[in-house]
């Protein structure tokens, strides 16, 4: 699919937000939303460069490189983009206004619109331009809020689900970070778990019910 820039002014918007931050301007949800929206390509099936950059960064922060490749190296952003375009795991549903901090989200907002807005808000206006530690803190705060009572319907859960799925079904995630064996060949009902044990990515029953 085409992930090209069909939406317009992502870079300009980023510069504007950076300028706002540098000038110490008061950032309100409404102004942030207006800016996020100015660059959003809600009607576009592809992602704008700013959205792609955001997705790359968020995937990388969620599952970074370690002794195995992380989500960015495993190509997860492309899967997430495809998944968003095709509505996997409910990702096609518009995000209700009430999910936006301040309750000011418009009709038809996508999960990436929401993510852009929320992360920008948490980093003083420009998540992608923020220092890595600020980005980590912002994403951790977003994640933390999604996994406490009341956070069940956070759009982050949908996005994180796609990142997780994309990663652990990639070759690197499935067969290097975890273990993958298409033909186990036998069944052993009781084996010890060693200190460096890795889960089986293709334990299909556990994938379904675990």
């Amino acid at each position: 699919m085409d992930h090209g820039n069909r939406g317009g002014s992502g870079a300009g918007r980023r510069q504007f937000l950076m300028g706002l931050a540098a000038a110490g301007a008061a950032l309100t949800p409404a102004t942030l939303w207006a800016q996020a929206r100015s660059g959003a390509g809600a009607a576009s099936p592809g992602l704008m460069p700013s959205q792609r950059a955001l997705l790359d960064r968020v995937c990388d922060l969620t599952i970074p490189d370690s002794d195995t490749p992380g989500a960015l190296a495993a190509g997860v952003p492309a899967f997430v983009a495809l998944a968003l375009a095709h509505g996997l795991e409910g990702a096609g549903a518009p995000v209700p206004a009430a999910r936006f901090t301040g309750g000011a989200g418009p009709d038809g907002a996508t999960v990436l619109d929401w993510l852009t807005f929320e992360l920008d808000l948490k980093t003083g206006g420009a998540f992608l331009a923020a220092a890595p530690t600020s980005q980590v803190q912002a994403l951790a705060a977003l994640d933390g809020a999604a996994y406490v009572p009341g956070g069940e319907r956070s759009p982050w859960r949908v996005l994180k689900g796609l990142i997780v799925t994309g990663y652990y079904t990639s070759e690197a995630g499935a067969s290097r970070e975890l273990q993958y064996e298409l033909v186990p060949g036998h069944w052993d009902p009781d084996v010890p778990v060693g200190p460096h044990a890795r889960a089986w990515s293709n334990d299909w029953t556990a994938v379904d019910f675990g």
């Binding site: 922060l61 996997l88 067969s175 298409l182 186990p184 069944w187 009902p189």
Partner: protein, 560 residues
């Protein structure tokens, strides 16, 4: 009268394959008609060996496509991007449901039908089941009892290969088994606790048509647990792996695919079926095939549909429907998650391989004494497992620590899924939709099915008991449900042409013949007079083999 074939078998799924095998092996020239496409054993299983990263949507599938074309099928647990080619396109294959009802009709229109995707659980019914209708008055009394079917269960199990453990449990008679697959460490622990605390209950490995020993050119299971993609090892029973090669070996089988049977042709003068009228769905050509007998194995609801569509002046309400009961008393199983529990124990133990079966706790309620406020009973299926990566979707965390925490096996959990018997009710029925037709102009099948209060009470009891058992085993119950899913959710839809001795109160007789048309046999799930609470396919197979034996005997005696 000279006919093109001795027998026509409609459908190539679990029972169609059996009918073809049995009839050809007894020397009959058989035409087997499959509405769907050809799928060759092995080479036809196109996704079998693919990894998730080799699939466009990583095995999850294209949700937009599923919403458009697979709205019902995609709700099936076994429906994935790997298996979607073994399910029908809902848009192309519509059915209707009565207002205010819901029914998931999961189907596979291809050679082998649902034998490619079935759950493989293979259980015998007991005399508690065959005697149930007579005992409590629901439905038509079965014309047979366990002793009538036992030799045919033997016959089927010997051929298909079922692995399992004989247990001596009266409600789930033992069969002829290959060595069982082993319980894992938590299941073994739970078994010990449950059987000690409730001596009338038994936890045993699921009896499954997956081989644990090589058999007649079929390999033993490789523990992949991707059966529904098709298994080129032939390690589970399907038409392709088992009955079709046996039938073809006789030289007596003619197989046609992409051909839907539009009606069973009937001669009012002889009061016999003469064959079938078919439509080639690829070429649009219509023609007739003739035979001395017709076996209907189209799948329970499609067999009903075909009979309802085969009405005539002699049978205005559908072929063989002098009783007016054709299409009635349809059933499924009422199923839901009885309980899910998390366990702290055995964190230092895990498993290797993907076992393609779970555990079963056979029915223990209302056997020799009435317990509780519901009739008949339920059983549990499920198992214990350690979570894998999908837990990362619901756990907090991002970054290196999160990645590291998700690397190892997750915690143990055990699941018990409840399957309650569905009472046969006249109000649960299939009819021809008076207003809607398919692309070929045929009236749609209309399904009017609802679970009743008895099923809800049974599932409520099951939820309590499942929770009690898992709690006793040391688990912390995190989920317990007691409301049944939509009709069809067990994929055990059956009935509509129920067996019975009385032509006024049943549609088929003790040999699976239509009471009204002696040379038409219905031996798929349509013939079921009650549902029991165990997976029904083994019973369908045994009934089919028995009916084939009877059919050939009756032919030789010139009685049909």
């Amino acid at each position: 009268m000279s006919t093109e074939f001795d027998a026509i078998v409609v459908g190539s799924g679990i029972t169609g394959g059996w009918a073809a095998k049995e009839l050809t092996e007894k020397g009959l020239k058989v035409l087997m008609v499959e509405r769907g496409r050809m799928i060759e054993h092995g080479s036809g299983y196109v996704t079998e060996t693919l990894a998730p990263w080799e699939m466009p949507f990583r095995g999850e599938g294209d949700a937009a496509l599923y919403t458009r074309d697979f709205a019902v099928q995609s709700k099936n647990r076994h429906f994935t991007e790997f298996t979607q080619n073994h399910f029908v396109n809902d848009r192309d294959n519509p059915y209707s449901v009565a207002e205010g009802t819901e029914f998931n009709w999961w189907r596979g229109y291809q050679l082998g039908g649902r034998s490619l995707t079935w759950g493989r659980q293979s259980y015998r019914m007991s005399d508690y089941d065959f005697g149930a209708n007579k005992k409590d008055g629901h439905g038509s009394d079965w014309p047979i009892r366990y002793a009538d079917l036992a030799p045919w269960y033997d016959h089927v199990e010997r051929f298909i290969g079922v692995s399992g453990q004989a247990e001596g449990v009266a409600s789930l008679p033992d069969g002829i088994y290959q060595p069982p697959m082993a319980l894992n460490v938590l299941e073994r622990h739970a078994k010990g606790i449950i059987e000690q605390r409730w001596p009338d209950r038994r936890l045993t490995i699921g009896r499954t048509a997956n081989l644990t020993q090589e058999k007649e050119g079929r390999s033993a299971c490789q523990y992949r647990s991707i059966c529904a993609r098709g298994c080129s090892y032939g390690a589970y029973f399907s038409t392709q792996s088992s009955t079709l090669p046996a039938a073809q070996k006789t030289g007596n089988l003619t197989l046609i695919t992409d051909t839907v049977v539009e009606r069973v042709d009937y001669d009012a003068r002889t009061r016999r079926a003469t064959g079938v009228s078919v439509l080639n769905v690829k070429t649009g050509e219509r023609r007739r095939h003739t035979a001395r007998i017709v076996f209907l194995n189209a799948g329970a609801f499609n067999t009903n549909h075909l009979l309802l569509r085969s009405g005539s002046d002699a049978f205005p309400g559908g072929l063989g429907n002098s009783s007016g009961l054709l299409g009635t008393h349809i059933m499924d199983h009422a199923t839901t998650v009885g309980a899910v529990a998390l366990f702290d124990r055995f964190q230092d133990r895990t498993t290797f391989g993907n076992r393609p079966t779970g555990i079963v706790i056979p029915r223990f309620r209302n056997l020799d004494r009435q317990e509780g406020d519901f009739l008949r009973g339920y059983s549990f299926q499920g198992g214990a497992l350690r979570s894998t990566w999908t837990r990362a979707k619901r756990e907090a965390g991002v970054g290196a620590d999160f990645k590291a925490a998700m690397r190892g096996p997750g915690g143990w959990r055990m699941v018990l899924v409840s399957f309650a018997e569905s009472l046969p009710r006249p109000t649960n029925r299939l009819t021809l939709d008076p207003n809607k037709t398919d692309a070929a102009g045929a009236p749609l099948l209309k399904i009017d099915f609802s679970h009743g209060e008895n099923e809800r009470k049974a599932l409520a009891d099951a939820g309590r008991e499942a929770s009690a058992m898992l709690t006793a085993a040391g688990g912390k119950v995190v989920l317990s449900l007691d409301r049944p899913g939509a009709g069809g959710s067990a994929i055990h839809e059956m009935g509509g042409a129920m067996m019975g001795d009385n032509p006024r109160t049943s549609v088929t007789n003790r040999w699976n013949q239509l009471h009204d048309v002696a040379n038409v046999f219905v031996s798929d799930g349509a013939a079921m007079a009650s549902s029991a609470c165990q997976n029904p396919s083994l019973t369908y197979m045994a009934l089919t083999a028995r009916a084939c034996d009877a059919a050939v005997r009756l032919l030789r005696e010139a009685k049909i």
